[in-house]
Symmetry: D2
Subunit: 382 residues, 4 copies
């Protein structure tokens, strides 16, 4: 066996959601050993979480700064090799830059950070350190998303004309943040979420999925950011008209007040010779319409699906995989990259460029919403 990658975690203490997801993801393929952590601002939470996870008490740190510094001081064969950042948005930039500069690889939750300044500094830190940086836009690691991308890039659908992407949830239909629910609390707080709510939390997933799957980029947009719940400080609903660099047009809608919707991330792409559709709530299906106009349902782990998509599946056809498995694919590929088994900083997982583009997307949407006019995004971040 390749040696497991030693990793430390920032965030993800008791009461958090995404931290537990990251830990399942890193365990699934047995590529990591979680050996250190600062699981929250409260040392007691960190202590308890670490105990629950079987960590040595000495490697449960009171602050991420301490974790990075202390780990860097350990012998190379012992210290962590990578840091996983699963904190609210405002605590991505700090630990990421510090970790990179200390020589650690970083895998970070999305959105990248809360301002373009932060984003560009993170980008510089990645470049200067030469370390691996992965951003957990987990949906892009779902096998059928990979398949969709490959088919679009191969030209199977012809020239893309229309893109419709939506990410509709309903869980913030009421003022859940008042109940103290931890997920709602920080996501609706500008101090921790940044200048946007729904747009950062889920709109950036939709944006990244759109660019990833089409291999194209959003060239300009016209955005309306709404806040439906009284007294909420950030947008809980967004609707955006999109022009892609290729000339395709479409809509991107993200909402957390679509009553009853769970986690409705869905993309539809129409070209001159074909079309496809993917819905993350049924991730093992890829609906594709060929030149003959007939709708097919491609399924994971079947002969109809290409090698690189099938490499992201662990089970035979008909044995459904889902959210956690896609998340784990990011970790698995990150581990390979950390070990130098592949040398790409782009694929096979989202990285710093996706992150910077997401932050630019947020900025453009804010500007557009303010002026109610079209705003362009620059072409290149790499």
């Amino acid at each position: 066996m390749s040696q497991r990658v030693r990793i430390g975690m920032v965030g993800g203490g008791q009461g958090a959601f995404i931290g537990a997801v990251h830990r399942i993801a890193l365990r699934m393929d047995d590529q990591f050993e979680l050996v250190a952590g600062c699981f929250g601002r409260d040392p007691e939470n960190t202590r308890l979480t670490g105990e629950e996870l079987g960590l040595e008490p000495s490697r449960c740190y009171a602050s991420w700064e301490e974790m990075i510094e202390s780990e860097a001081a350990l012998p190379e064969s012992e210290r962590i090799e990578a840091v996983s950042i699963v904190t609210p948005n405002h605590v991505h930039h700090g630990p990421a830059c510090t970790a990179l500069r200390a020589g650690f690889h970083v895998i970070c939750d999305k959105p990248l950070c809360i301002s373009l300044e932060e984003a560009l500094e993170m980008k510089a830190a990645v470049a200067e350190s030469g370390k691996i940086f992965a951003l957990t836009h987990n949906y892009s690691a779902s096998p059928m998303v990979r398949e969709a991308r490959e088919r679009i890039l191969s030209g199977e659908l012809g020239t893309i004309r229309k893109v419709y992407v939506e990410y509709l949830q309903g869980w913030l239909s009421e003022k859940l943040e008042e109940s103290g629910q931890k997920q709602a609390d920080w996501r609706t707080d500008p101090a921790r979420s940044g200048p946007v709510g729904a747009l950062g939390d889920i709109g950036t997933h939709a944006h990244q999925l759109l660019e990833f799957i089409t291999g194209d980029r959003v060239d300009s947009l016209l955005a309306v950011l709404n806040t439906f719940v009284d007294g909420r400080a950030l947008d809980d609903d967004d609707m955006i008209l999109i022009r892609m660099a290729s000339g395709a047009t479409g809509t991107l809608c993200s909402s957390q007040v679509c009553f009853g919707r769970e986690n409705g991330l869905k993309i539809r792409v129409f070209g001159t010779r074909g079309a496809l559709e993917w819905d993350q709530e049924h991730p093992n299906d890829l609906k594709i319409t060929g030149e003959d106009g007939v709708a097919r349902n491609l399924r994971t782990s079947t002969g109809a699906v290409g090698e690189s998509a099938n490499a992201l599946s662990r089970t035979p056809a008909g044995h459904p995989e889902g959210y956690l498995e896609a998340f784990a694919n990011i970790y698995k590929n990150f581990a390979s990259a950390v070990r130098g088994e592949n040398n790409s900083m782009e694929l096979p997982f989202p990285g710093i460029v996706d992150g910077v583009r997401g932050v630019r997307f947020i900025g453009a949407a804010l500007e557009s919403n303010k002026n109610q006019s079209w705003v362009s995004l620059p072409a290149e971040d790499c």
Copy 2:
């Protein structure tokens, strides 16, 4: 039996699509007798069509003007009572106004006409004549659309926040009009279709459905009209941001270049306490999410559905009805109105107000597209 309503038809000769639909619709419930017609500009077409339909040759007219004039001259017990107009858009205004003024009720295909001037004149003609005017926005007569409307109006979903309506087709993905295909030919020709293509042909259906089902109206919009197929004179794709008078927001997308899509008219409405979704390609289902967050699938002709919706069904549960049956509902209700069995000019079928609003919607979209800014629609047309 109530006496069948004697009706004459304008348009719908050989090669037409919608004329045959209207004729099946008027036959289905045996409420009409088609006794006269001018089925096209070509008298030979009219003669052949009339022969095929078993009409008396003397009542197959060379022009709609002649039909209206000649029929008006017949004894009251013999002459037509109503005119069905199934021509391309530019030949709605003339026969409708003339027929109304001659004392005939009118049932007319959508969109109402090709300019606001025409629309307002038609509205005046309806008002002055006191005759019944029905506009065949057939989808609004589908049982589950009626059910959806009643539930929304009753407040079951709470305050409506989000509306997403789309009407996606793919049949104009290529330049079908060059092949001489009759449907494509006139729909892409400004002289016959009017100033818009897809927006008039299907966007107005989406707009009417949206206003009908919510009991609300589009207050302002921001529209982008696209033409994807080279050399096409009119829009074949539209994407529109919407604000409803109630404060709800959403999107309305109509397209005829969504490769592979057949007739994808679909509406989703989200309120503060519930949500619903209807898809005309599966018209016997109404997906509704209640306050408990559970998605239900209501089905036509079941006890779960209200009286007025069930009155639009002819078969027991599980015996699917579709497009033709909904169309026939418009005719059936029109017949009742003609006989004075009901006295509403609004419900239970779309009428002149829907038509005028549709024309205003087109006008606002054109203006918005030109200026890339929000455009308001006036509140009242009645």
Copy 3:
């Protein structure tokens, strides 16, 4: 236009269900003129029904015997050409034989009749009269059923191995017959329904669909007929193991006590090189898996569907047709046959052979149920 076929109806008075369906079906394509009728045993019902339908009172008859006799005495250009029989099962044999012998074509509801003796006499009457006989196994006239049959007969699926057909309803889950509901009343009464309940009412549809779609025949069966509702005299649930003449095996389940199911007729066929599935509640879809293992969804009125299937559609793709339209296809094709426009007594509609086979199927199931052993069906009825 071809002259409309003059037709008289037996059964279908007020309170009946299927009579109204037959009338919509015969009106839809304008191929018939309903000019005579005996709509029930009660002359007053017949009078009222006739009046509602606009029939001449003189052609509203007190008995079917009188109708056939009186009509036969009318001048040829005036008298009916065909009889539509829409009565309960025990009143199929009498009017059918009498009508055929009087020189009238017959279109009759299913099942054919209530005993093999009756069936064979009806078969002889058809043969001797040389008249057209159609049995309204309406599902076989759904476009995608025709498409399925053609693809199977062409060998596209390879050798058929497995067939699963089911027809599940829930409307007799309670003892509805006690409420006086007319449909439940006669269907659960041996005197009118014959020796079986659910098996005759819906099981025969499943059986005919199975044989029609595969072009194969049930060679032997092992049946269990259950009665779940206390005090009910006939089976309300059936489960049958099937061997086809070709060697394929499978199950046929029909039930009227599957709580909540509406009209769940569904067939799945698996061959050595492909598979398909059709569900009458979504009749415009045909799910087909090709040699590549990919599931496709074929849709009515598209280029992916063959001519003979598309000939059964009236609307473009995406404009759903349903139960009534399939029913109307039987009538349309029956009219063509009556006029001698085609000369087949088998296709394009189910006829006497389907009817006799259905009665044999019932007989075999009864025998098997009694002895709990396999029972063979004879190969040939033509």
Copy 4:
């Protein structure tokens, strides 16, 4: 943290499918430490697999006998506590009995074993050892299966009348065993699979799911076991009529020659007041029809679902979990039982009784198939 359970694995070397699944399952919730193994009959395979898994070479054993003996000789704080058996069917009985007698808990793949004699001996070994025994009928640990069971047991559906369960696959449509494909190879070999093929491999899953979800048991059955592929020694298709002890009836079909089907395990249950349906290919949905006849779609991790079902989910609503997560639930609950955190040998995971009943089910089906008559199963195995 509770101490991880030290576990050893029998089977699951390179080329195996289910071994890798078990290992992901045991890792997912971090409740186990895999410290020993005999991964196959070939010591080199065991060595390589162990190396890949990071095991100490000294605990990679040449035979399962050696593993059990050597581990038992280790100090209690070091030796394994449990054995996971993931071998072909004929190698369940030996290691299970030996491990139990050596004082180890056992988690074993299904079916239990290849004869009733073996099964009863295993049952005795469980009873005598007092150790925990889990059988990985993984589908029963899917959240919505648990929800379905609880609702049926609570009486929500009334008295159950009809059950339809099917497990349809297509992967053995051709003679895959000739290609050397390892999964096909042993499953079609009587020496390793036992006296049945499809029935043992997947029919027992269907049987266990049926009994688990209804809380009822198969009382008698009439089975037809088919072999469609020439030269195959065991059944590849089964169709079985079922009577439950409660009086419900239905069908159980398992097949591996349903071309194109992946892993189609699906159950439908109809009671006097409601119905439900679960399909393992869409495991996060539970379709349930209430007394009002309306079909609802319950979803995992929502408020509509009970506590014990939600306890089996790791993610919020709309974040799909699947096959691996359900498998992991068995392991998680097994770990709790091993630690004495619960004391049930029945729930929350399938155990020896499910296993013995499965073997009896196979025996009854074989006998019924031979005689083509109904065969009863005894009521009690506990």
